[in-house]
């Protein structure tokens, strides 16, 4: 009995010893790499914060409204954007290098997948960012226009514009990532087709007279405008 227990314990200890001698150096090496990457990232961020100014990028961020979109306070500056990006890229590089130290099938597969997916992830992220910006911009344009023109429910209209644009952005990003491609595409076609069909039906059945009157008034107003000065004073 005691002998059996001794054998079991010896077996456990041997396995532990094997695992420790096999994996511990790799783990320590990975941690060292990660620590090195962390220090390098901190250093790079510190240096960039001091030497990189990016005034033109700041102007671009401010003018396009991206500064306020990414940071509600609007204090986002190119320096911070670049230094933070470099910081996280170095950390990510360190993490992947650390993983590759283990040299197992699983870690190799994870690293390879990540490296393969990274450019696509970046592009998809940029598409989503552009979608958010465009939806905000066009949504706001619609809102202000609708209010000034006295169109009913401007916020709902602006919301619909935002949702439509974001939906398109998500479809394109999903397509980029090869993620549920057909599902998104089908949903998009069904929704857009449905919306157009509903609008056509609504206009055809409910608002024929109104539409005719509207276009007639527009046409008359256009003719009248042509005869008048555009520079009457304020």
């Amino acid at each position: 009995m005691i002998e059996t227990m001794q054998q079991v314990l010896e077996g456990v200890l041997a396995r532990l010893k094997y695992q420790a001698t096999t994996y511990l150096p790799s783990l320590v090496a990975a941690l060292i790499i990660l620590l090195g990457a962390y220090i390098a990232a901190l250093l790079a961020r510190w240096v960039l914060n001091r030497i990189f100014k990016g005034i033109a990028v700041d102007r671009f961020l401010r003018r396009t409204g991206l500064a306020f979109m990414l940071d509600r306070s609007g204090r986002l500056r190119a320096t911070r954007l670049v230094s933070e990006s470099v910081y996280w890229l170095i950390l990510l590089g360190g993490f992947l290098t650390g993983l590759s130290v283990f040299n197992t099938d699983l870690t190799t597969q994870i690293t390879q997948s990540f490296v393969f997916l990274l450019p696509k992830l970046v592009v998809a992220g940029l598409i989503l960012l552009a979608g958010v910006w465009l939806s905000q911009f066009l949504g706001r344009s619609t809102l202000v226009w609708a209010v000034n023109e006295g169109v009913p429910s401007p916020r709902k209209l602006a919301g619909a514009v935002r949702v439509a644009i974001m939906f398109v952005a998500v479809v394109v990003a999903a397509d980029q990532l090869n993620f549920a491609r057909s599902v998104f595409l089908a949903a998009f076609i069904i929704l857009m087709g449905g919306a157009v069909f509903a609008a056509s039906l609504a206009l055809g059945l409910g608002g024929r007279d109104s539409a005719r009157r509207y276009f007639q008034e527009q046409s008359e107003a256009k003719e009248e405008r042509g005869e008048r000065s555009l520079w009457n004073h304020l």
Binding site: R62, R63, G65, F68, R72, S73, G74, R75, F137, R140, S141, L143, V144, W145, A146, V147, N148, E149, G150, P152, P154, R155, A221, K222, E224, R225, G226, E227, R228, S229, L230, W231, N232, H233, L234
Partner: protein, 447 residues
């Protein structure tokens, strides 16, 4: 059109005429009905007041299809029956050219200024083409201070109906006066006299392809003259009567272009206005007299509805543009803005803060400048409605006193502007305003 380069037909005409003392510019677009009268007045003005000077009338046209150009070229003073003490030495050249570039008044002015510079004119006057109250004396009043008194810029001074020129009265005049410290009563009047020196300065600038090319041109000219230390005066021209306002003209686009230009120039001339306080009178020439004015109809209910509608819907924009306290006061006002309201009132202090907050938000570009400026329309309509209610029973002198009080408020609030100009505003809390039933009609554009 290349930078500062005249179109070929204008160049040929300039080479033929070679030199002129005075150029009178008339921008136009489909103004055949009125431009003949304006041209005849210009011809008569030159013959009567400047008989020994060479004058050229330049019509800069935006592609009229109603015979505007022919009306200019064929208009003369043969039928004017003028009693002239001196015989004009030379006839007045009348030219009409289509301008190129962005369609708008500013692009039309650019061609006129280029022509004046090319002809080495000592003075240039520009007048609108739809004026019905213009007389030959206007040209004397616009040109003489430049030609014989050393002024660089002559701004007009008119009698206008109390509800006419509300963008001027509620935003542009008070703000320009408070910023640059000069009381130019009609900074976007439309009729100006300009010296050769100032013309060169205008043409040397590189912002012609912006809103300046459109409605922004008037305030741009006035601001440059004031901010860069050119000698500025005003001339009393009597009444300004012109064709009815274009019903299709987009009010928010007009506001966008005019107010956007004021705000952009504020940024450029910040070092100039930062240290100025108060204001001083600007020399006024011409004999002042009272005149009858065309009545102007306003639709208060539409303006109030537009404001209320704006309050219900534009919270996300105004909460960024306005300071939290200003935004909160505006939201409270929305509850009073119902059709038939006779007690609706935006006081001078609140209105001044609205304009100054928008100026600061424009500088910080926290949201698209187009969105920001166009979202000002309902607030502007509210201020006009408040002004109309307040001045219904007042005479024009009393109304002028009200405008003076607003101007003094803008001057007093300058420290507020300076304090918020650089500061990062905290985003205001946004809560939806409870909706009232009823369809909102489109705001009246006649104001």
């Amino acid at each position: 059109m290349a930078e500062n380069q005249l179109p070929l037909d204008a160049l040929r005409a300039a080479e033929k005429i070679r030199k002129a003392d005075v150029v009178i510019g008339i921008p136009s677009y489909n103004n055949a009905r009125t431009i003949g009268h304006v041209t005849r007045a210009a011809c008569a003005g030159l013959a009567k007041y400047f008989p020994d000077l060479t004058g050229v009338i330049v019509n800069s046209d935006g592609g009229s299809k109603d015979g505007t150009a022919q009306a200019v070229v064929s208009a003369g003073m043969e039928d004017a029956n003028l009693l002239l003490l001196s015989t004009p030495l030379t006839g007045v050249h009348r030219l009409s050219f289509p301008y190129h570039g962005i369609p708008g008044k500013g692009s039309a002015f650019r061609l006129i200024f280029q022509m004046a510079e090319r002809l080495e004119a000592r003075a240039c006057a520009v007048v609108d083409s739809d004026l019905r109250s213009i007389t030959p004396e206007w040209f004397d009043l616009l040109l003489r201070p430049v030609l014989f008194a050393g002024y660089d810029f002559v701004a007009p001074y008119y009698h206008r109906h109390k509800y006419d020129g509300t963008i001027t009265n509620s935003i542009v005049y008070p703000l320009t006066r408070a910023l640059y410290g000069h009381r130019v009563r009609q900074p976007i009047g439309g009729e100006f006299g300009v010296s050769a020196r100032l013309l060169s300065r205008y043409l040397s600038r590189e912002d012609w392809e912006t809103d300046i090319a459109r409605y922004g041109i008037d305030i741009w000219m006035t601001t440059i003259a004031l901010a860069e230390g050119f000698r500025v005066c005003q001339s009393f021209l009597g009444a300004k009567l012109h064709d009815a306002k274009d019903p299709g003209a987009d009010l928010s686009a007009m506001l966008h272009q005019v107010v956007g230009s004021v705000f952009l120039l504020m940024q450029e001339y910040e070092p100039v206005w930062r240290n100025r306080s108060g204001s001083e009178a600007v020399e006024l020439f011409g004999f002042r007299f009272d005149v009858g004015l065309d009545p102007i109809e306003v639709n208060l209910d539409r303006m109030l509805n537009a404001f209320r509608h704006g309050c219900e819907e534009l919270g996300e924009v105004w909460s960024i543009a306005l300071q939290p306290s200003t935004f909160s006061e505006i939201r409270k006002l929305a509850e009073q803005a119902h059709p038939g309201a006779t007690s609706f009132h935006i006081d001078d202090d609140l209105w001044t803060r609205v304009v100054l907050d928008f100026a600061c938000a424009h500088r910080k570009a926290r949201l698209g400048r187009g969105h920001l400026l166009r979202s000002l329309t309902p607030l502007y309509l509210a201020r006009v409605a408040s002004f109309v209610i307040e001045t219904t029973s007042l005479l024009s002198a009393q109304v002028e006193q009200k405008i003076e009080e607003l101007c003094l408020c803008f001057e007093r609030m300058k420290p507020y502007l300076i304090a918020h100009w650089d500061a990062e505003p905290a985003p205001a809390a946004e809560k939806p305003v409870p909706k009232k039933s009823g369809v909102v009609e489109r705001a009246n554009l006649e104001v």
